[in-house]
Amino acid sequence: MKRRDLLKGVAFAGVAGATGLGGFPGIWTGRNAAWAAGSDIPVGVLFSKTGAVAVVESTLHDACMMAIEEINDNGGINGRKIRPFVEDPASDPATFADRANRLVRRDKVVSIFGSYTSSSRQAVLPVVEGQNNLYWYPTLYEGRECSRNVMYGGAVPNQQQQDFVPWLKEKFGGRFYLLGNNYVYPREENNVARKILKGIGGEVVNEEYVPMGHDSFSSIVSKLRRDKPDVIFCTLVGDSDVAFQREYHNAGLDPKTMPVASLTRSEIEVKAIGGEAAAGHFSSAPYFMGYQSAENKKFVEAYLKKYGQDQVTHFVNEAAYSQVYQFKNAVERIGSGELKPSAIRDAAVGQRFMAPQGEIEIADNLHSYLWPKIGQWQADGQAKVLVDSKSRMAPEPYWAYEGQECTAEGLQKS
């Protein structure tokens, strides 16, 4: 009996041992030993290449990497190259947190560029705040956040809606149907829209949220037929937006009388919807691929050359691209000082950069002054910019919340 048990024990130990050996520090940890060496500037690049939001995030990854390469090809920053540590968080918040942790704590990056969805940003937040690192987030978002560790490169609700909603009311009428995916961004945008509409005498005929990834919209279309709104104010994202617009088109509804006004639709969704089905509808964004400017021409040409002529640029990957340059400028400004995230942040504030959309500026609340535009989609899949903002619009992440303001000192309440 003894011998038998011993054998079993040995076998078990073998497996445990194998696991243990496999787990030997040198093999298991550390991407490669050389990471700390040299004078490179380590940054994290954290966009999903797989999973549900890879459709968008992979283009952000591409734009971000293109900017890094451009900078490195032009001699880097103060002679130092940017060293990107790339991770694939697979569209999963828990993986986002894990990978951000890895970047910040193990790879000791000085900044992370990353993510598209609010939930992934929220997942990364405790990591960057806990370690006082810096997260460059390129996406438009719902506002109402005032972290000192996030550089918000996208539009907040007031920047998308302040001009857009009154313009829509004037052109089509004030009866809005609010339609979005069921998460924080659409709800918050609709909050703002209601507020603006109230101020200008419009009304909300219905407010509806569908689950993320939902793709059958026939019931919604029959509700639209029933309610006959003047404007469909749309904050659907990704697959839902595509499916909805296809359904709208199939059902034979007319953009002249019931246009879809979207805050989230970019060239990338239109490409999937098909130009014909998207034609005649509107989006509000600080950037469109078809916007005429020298910087944009350069950006678009470089991007298509690098990633293929069938690719598109859009208002999120434009920001992902610009943010790398803003990072560069900040690091340049620090010069020979200590390169730590908080220093980069402080150096970035107030700095201007000539982006494809126009000259943008980082506000002291770490959001960006942007150039909101209203575009109408054309059958070729590009937007025609109908209205261009006359000045840089200030970001007010707490626009809808009276008595709250995001400042350089964080959230102020009065």
């Binding site: 549900a52 793709d215 029959s222 029933r226 199939n250 059902a251 990338i268």
Partner: protein
């Protein structure tokens, strides 16, 4: 005023899509007891083949259907011969293996075609709407309803009016005896799996004009299809059709009256109750297993 007719039509349209997707799964599950979690990925691959044919050769969805079916069937055959075949004695393990297969297929497609969302145009002659008694019916949806009925009829004919169908039903009821009478169960399984995969691919191609084509599009599909199959009852294509109709109409009505989210929650709960009290399905077929 005609909204109820309208909802019935929408329900039918949802039913037809559910049925197209679930039918292949139902046949595979009913025949082999294999729980094919990669079914959604077969749907996705059908969509990609449709996109590929259209973007590379300008072949429209409908003209391309035979090719799409063959592509799906060949892929199904390959998967069956290499992997599924070894798991017939362990049906619950197929859940795990096919999940792995799903991951691999998704990743392969992503590697080949990228993460981009792809666009497939609807056939032009199906543009527009038929308006009848105030009900807006898009021609394309009408076409899908018709096509789903046709697929159901073809499948029924295949099962009940052909020699292959007789062999298949014999194998389902008594594999050993069927083998003793010259039916090669292995071959029947392979053909059935290929047929199911082919149907999935066709379903994928047909939904492309309505959704966005991405490598992840299959994940959501498979859960719904499974609910339909289980509610319908193992091995009963009539049950599958009835379950699709039930779930399709319920979705249409509940989403119209309440909201999409509530409708979905209610349907999931309804399915739970149904399975609890009728685990044999709506129209149980008295077969083994």
């Amino acid at each position: 005023m005609h909204s109820w007719l309208n909802e019935i039509f929408i329900g039918l349209s949802l039913t037809s899509i559910l049925l197209m997707v679930a039918l292949g799964l139902a046949i595979i599950y009913g025949t082999m007891g294999v729980i094919n979690l990669a079914h959604g990925q077969f749907v996705m691959i059908g969509a990609y083949v449709a996109w590929f044919l259209q973007s590379q050769f300008g072949i429209g969805i409908i003209v391309g259907l035979p090719l799409i079916f063959i592509a799906g069937a060949l892929l199904g055959l390959a998967v069956e011969r290499t992997i599924i075949q070894r798991l017939y004695t362990r049906p619950l393990d197929t859940i795990l293996a096919t999940w792995g297969i799903g991951i691999v297929l998704e990743q392969l497609v992503r590697g080949l075609f990228g993460s981009d969302s792809r666009y497939v145009a609807r056939p032009e002659f199906l543009d527009g709407n038929l308006i009848l008694a105030g009900v807006h019916m898009s021609y394309y949806r009408l076409f899908i309803i018709g096509f789903a009925l046709l697929t159901l009829a073809v499948t029924w004919f295949l099962l009940f009016r052909t020699e292959f169908g007789t062999k298949l039903r014999a194998v389902i009821q008594n594999k050993e005896i069927s083998e003793c009478y010259g039916v090669s169960a292995n071959r029947v399984y392979a053909v059935t799996f290929a047929y199911g995969a082919g149907l999935a691919a066709i379903a994928g191609a047909l939904i492309t004009p309505m959704v966005s084509v991405t490598p992840t599009m299959g994940t959501g599909v498979v859960v719904d299809a499974f609910l339909v199959v289980i509610v319908g009852g193992v091995g009963s294509i009539v049950g599958t059709a009835a379950a699709a109709l039930m779930i399709g109409e319920a979705t249409a009505w509940l989403s119209y009256l309440l909201s999409e989210t509530t409708a979905r929650i209610l349907i999931l709960l309804g399915v739970i109750v149904l399975i609890r009290f009728r685990p044999q399905g709506l129209f149980p077929d008295k077969v083994r297993r």
